[in-house]
């Protein structure tokens, strides 16, 4: 039996596994409940056991689910491949199956009129790979935390929150509709808030949590409005579409309407069909430029509303994935424990925006405007964050800005329609960035919580495992050739360069060249971080004389993640052949093609995006490699030769000014303070004086009290304590009521 055949027979067939998908979410949720409620009673070891086994159980189930999506049944020959892992697309015609996926609908969650939301879960290759990342990396980070948090008394709270986060993130990924996804979206936001402010006795850390929460809330608001717009769009579509529209979508009128009745308007499969129906084929009634006839959106075109909804989703995704203009919370989020930064603020939660757009790729390609905005926002964010990272001295801050920058690169990929590469970069980034963060945590753990890289140095010989893994991860993120980061990043850049948005062709070059600059910057600041932390002599200001290497619970995850950062490169190798035209195709693109099939069809049909399918050549690889190398070498030269030689000499004023600006994060926080927070505060002050102090305090509260006191002292004489007097009053009242009712009836 070959490896391929082995992988095609799942231990649990999809039809048996599908009804149990909820367990993947329920296990960590149960763990969170047990740790949160009984944690203090259970003690440290038991809490570790519960939390770890909950995530490990979810991981095993995720592996089974992932395996089941590739299940083709035993003995399937290459020619007559029987597809076992599928479910019937509820919105499609009879022969329309969603391949390589399993789904289960647990019934209606709530229904209001025509609007209905089901509790439906689905796993396809996109959510499957994310399941593995979340539970796999999540498990490693749980393991790491057992050692990292060994001196903290809030361990039970910590593990409860961490499990809660995993459950919410799994909900986000497994949801088959937008509303359930939003539940997970809010859930991870809450868990993130709880964990950033984990050490809530420190006001600065509590504030950081609040900042993250409020910034996210702005994005969530946009997310909700976008969802409502889509609901309205679906209802407008069903009112105006004719049979040809449904035929374009690969469905029929009755089937689509019946599914809307059954599944509600916000499922991803239904939205995918909507997007396909909006493609113009000549005989259909509805396409992107058709005006909506009735309802609240009357007068706007379908395409215009779609663009508006997608831009609002971009704002939502920008909040969660820390893009311009809402990226400011992520660097402050480093106030939380370091493993939390690794799990939530590097590997999983912050990639939710990328996941959202990948999940809705079919809608996104309908609007070149929205795509260009996504790509440019990503590029600008990435560049800005990379520049700020140049001058940060806090090891976690550098990594935080690096995360913002890498997320920007993923947004560039999503925005230019190279979804599979963006998802691949998401995965590889999860590996090497988690490794870097955990390495940083290990460094802090071994050096008395020192985070200033200027006060570290020379750790290479004292923390061998941490050093080795950190070096591998640094090389991966920098883009040195045999490591995963190089291939995933280059796949994005290649796609960005060769994909063209209809009417906005100039974005390809702009984003591509910005990308090259970003790649060089990334190499520079990461090399700087590595050199200052691990190379050179030990700083004189170090807190501890000799750093100690961390326990196996911390080094083991580091090693696993470092290995993964190397081997994940395999995914980008063009070893497979395309199912449609037989050209060579990277493994990951082939693997995700069932997910992005509708997207490719729509892009071709609507002529909005010209998708390139070529594979990067040697020249492309060489160019990217040189860019990365130039950044690294520049940093190496500056920090190994130039600066050490100039110690004690005055720094030029210009350099100092540039450095200060970058160190102060280009004053973005101050700009927000001036442009948003001050006016809001001023308005709040006015409102406080007029509404609160005058209307509510003086008139409403004190006025009520005054009137009550006066009336009370007047009525005191009525209270004689005679029960019969009270009863008589009651009787008179009853008499009045009955007489009134009688008069009403008689009239």
């Amino acid at each position: 039996m070959t490896l391929a055949e082995f992988l095609q027979v799942a231990p649990v067939p999809p039809e048996q596994l599908a009804p149990s998908l909820w367990l993947i979410i329920a296990l960590p949720l149960l763990g969170a409940f047990i740790c949160g409620v009984f944690g203090r009673m259970l003690g440290r070891a038991n809490v570790h056991l519960v939390a770890l086994s909950a995530v490990a159980g979810a991981f095993v189930l995720s592996v089974l689910a992932f395996w089941a999506t590739s299940h083709t049944g035993p003995g399937a020959a290459e020619g007559s491949r029987r597809l076992m892992a599928y479910y019937r697309n509820p919105f499609g015609i009879e022969a329309d199956f969603v391949r390589y996926a399993l789904a289960y609908d647990y019934g209606t969650w709530f229904a209001v009129g025509d609007f209905r939301v089901n509790f439906g879960l689905s796993v396809d290759h996109l959510s499957g790979i994310l399941l593995l990342v979340i539970t796999g990396v999540g498990f490693l980070i749980h393991l790491y935390s057992t050692s990292y948090m060994e001196h903290d008394d809030g361990y039970w709270r910590y593990f409860a929150y961490l499990n809660l986060f995993v459950a919410a993130m799994l909900t986000l990924v497994l949801a088959d509709n937008l509303v359930l996804l939003f539940v997970g979206w809010e859930g991870v936001g809450m868990a993130s808030y709880l964990l950033i402010g984990f050490w809530y006795t420190d006001p600065a850390k509590a504030w950081a949590g609040r900042k993250a929460f409020i910034t996210n809330r702005i994005g969530d608001f946009a997310f909700l409005i976008a969802t409502f717009l889509l609901v309205l769009l679906v209802s407008a579509f069903t009112r105006q579409a004719n049979a040809a529209d449904y035929a374009t979508a690969g469905s029929s009128t009755q089937r689509y309407q019946a599914s809307l009745q059954e599944k509600g308007p916000v499922t991803f499969k239904g939205l995918e069909k909507l997007a396909e129906g909006l493609v113009d084929t000549g005989t259909d009634k509805v396409d992107l430029s058709t005006p909506i006839e009735a309802g609240p959106l009357a007068g706007y075109t379908f395409g215009g509303v779609m663009t508006a909804a997608l831009l609002l989703f971009l704002l939502g995704a920008a909040g969660k994935s820390a893009q311009l203009p809402l990226y400011v919370w992520l660097p402050d989020a480093m106030a939380g424990p370091t493993p939390v930064s690794a799990l939530i603020h590097a590997a999983t939660m912050v990639t939710a925006g990328v996941y959202l757009f990948s999940r809705m790729s079919a809608l996104l390609v309908l609007s070149p405007t929205a795509m260009a905005t996504v790509a440019i926002v990503g590029a600008l964010t990435s560049l800005l964050a990379a520049l700020i990272a140049f001058a940060q001295d806090d090891i976690k801050k550098v990594l935080a800005y690096s995360t913002v920058s890498q997320l920007g690169i993923m947004f560039m990929g999503v925005g230019m329609g190279i979804f599979w590469a963006a998802v691949l970069h998401l995965v590889t980034h999860a590996f090497f960035k988690a490794c870097l963060f955990l390495g940083a945590g290990s460094v802090m753990h071994g050096n008395g919580d020192e985070t200033d890289i200027k006060k570290l140095g020379g750790l290479r010989h004292e923390m061998k495992w941490t050093w080795g893994t950190f070096l591998v991860a640094t090389l991966a993120i920098t883009g040195i050739i045999p490591l995963s980061g190089f291939f995933s990043k280059d796949a994005i850049f290649h796609g960005v360069h060769h994909n063209h948005l209809h009417g906005l062709e100039w974005t390809s070059s702009l984003v591509y060249y910005l990308g090259l600059v970003i790649a060089a910057c990334t190499a520079f600041y990461m090399t700087r971080l590595y050199l200052l932390t691990f190379e050179g002599p030990r700083s004189k200001e170090a807190r501890v004389e000799h750093a100690h290497e961390s326990a196996w619970q911390m080094t083991l995850p580091l090693v696993v993640l470092a290995v993964l950062s190397v081997v994940a490169a395999v995914y980008a190798f063009p070893l497979m052949r395309s199912a449609s035209d037989g050209r060579p195709q990277p493994i990951f693109e082939n693997f995700l093609s069932p997910v992005f099939g509708a997207m490719a069809r729509i892009a071709e049909g609507a002529k909005t995006v010209e998708l390139d399918t070529s594979v990067p050549g040697m020249a492309d690889y060489l160019k990217a490699w040189l860019v990365a190398l130039s950044g690294g070498v520049a940093a190496a030269f500056l920090y190994l030769k130039f600066f050490p030689a100039r110690v004690g000499q005055p720094v030029p004023a210009f350099a100092r000014a540039v450095r200060r600006t970058a160190q102060n994060k280009f004053y973005v926080d101050e700009l927000y303070e001036l442009a948003v927070i001050r006016p809001v505060k001023f308005l709040s002050f006015i409102l406080f004086r007029v509404v609160d102090a005058l209307l509510i305090d003086t008139v409403a509260v004190r006025g009520t009290a005054w009137v009550t006191a006066r009336v009370g002292s007047a009525l005191r004489y009525v209270q004689s304590g005679d029960a019969q007097a009270y009863a008589a009053v009651m009787a008179i009242a009853i008499l009045g009521g009955v007489a009134y009712a009688l008069i009403q009836v008689l009239q």
Binding site: Q724, A728, A731, I732
Partner: protein, 168 residues
């Protein structure tokens, strides 16, 4: 004129008379005795309404158990006649006025109620008001309230013991 109307008139008159004695008698013991007779006459009226079972219950529970309790308390506390008639306060005058007003309103209302009764099927008539029908209804449709009432009586019993006992 028929026997039913005569019986109703007699029972109604006697009921009202004894009820008047209940509220106007000076001695509580007289009130209590008048109350017993009220209950008996009311039981007669219940029979006229074909509510035999409830009539029996009325005699057993009210005229039997509850009245014994009243008399027992009166004797226990050794209450005689009220020493003086209380000065009529404003509240009492208001109470009296409210009662008269309510009676007037009720009479006006009730005179509008259609008093005719739809005919009953013979088999329904045979079982109407019997212990069997009441029991069947109680133990099927009203089982939960019935059990709740048993709980209520238990609570009342315990409560009465706790409240009345000087030391437990």
């Amino acid at each position: 004129m028929n026997i039913e109307l005569i019986l109703f008139g007699a029972f109604a008159l006697l009921t009202l008379l004894s009820a008047g004695m209940v509220i106007f008698a000076r001695s509580p013991i007289n009130s209590a005795m008048a109350l017993v007779s009220t209950f008996f006459f009311l039981a007669g009226i219940y029979v006229l309404l074909w509510a035999h079972t409830v009539a029996v219950l009325q005699v057993l529970v009210y005229a039997g158990a509850i009245m014994v309790l009243f008399l027992f308390v009166i004797m226990l506390l050794n209450l005689g006649e009220s020493p003086t008639r209380g000065r009529p306060t404003l509240a009492r005058l208001a109470g009296g006025a409210a009662t008269v007003g309510l009676l007037a309103v009720l009479v006006v209302t009730l005179l509008k109620v259609p008093g005719d009764v739809p005919a009953m099927a013979p088999e329904a008539q045979a079982s109407f008001g019997t212990m069997a029908l009441l029991g069947q209804t109680l133990f099927t449709q009203w089982l939960l309230p019935f059990e709740a009432v048993s709980l209520l009586l238990l609570v009342a019993m315990v409560g009465a013991v706790v409240v009345a006992k000087s030391r437990i």
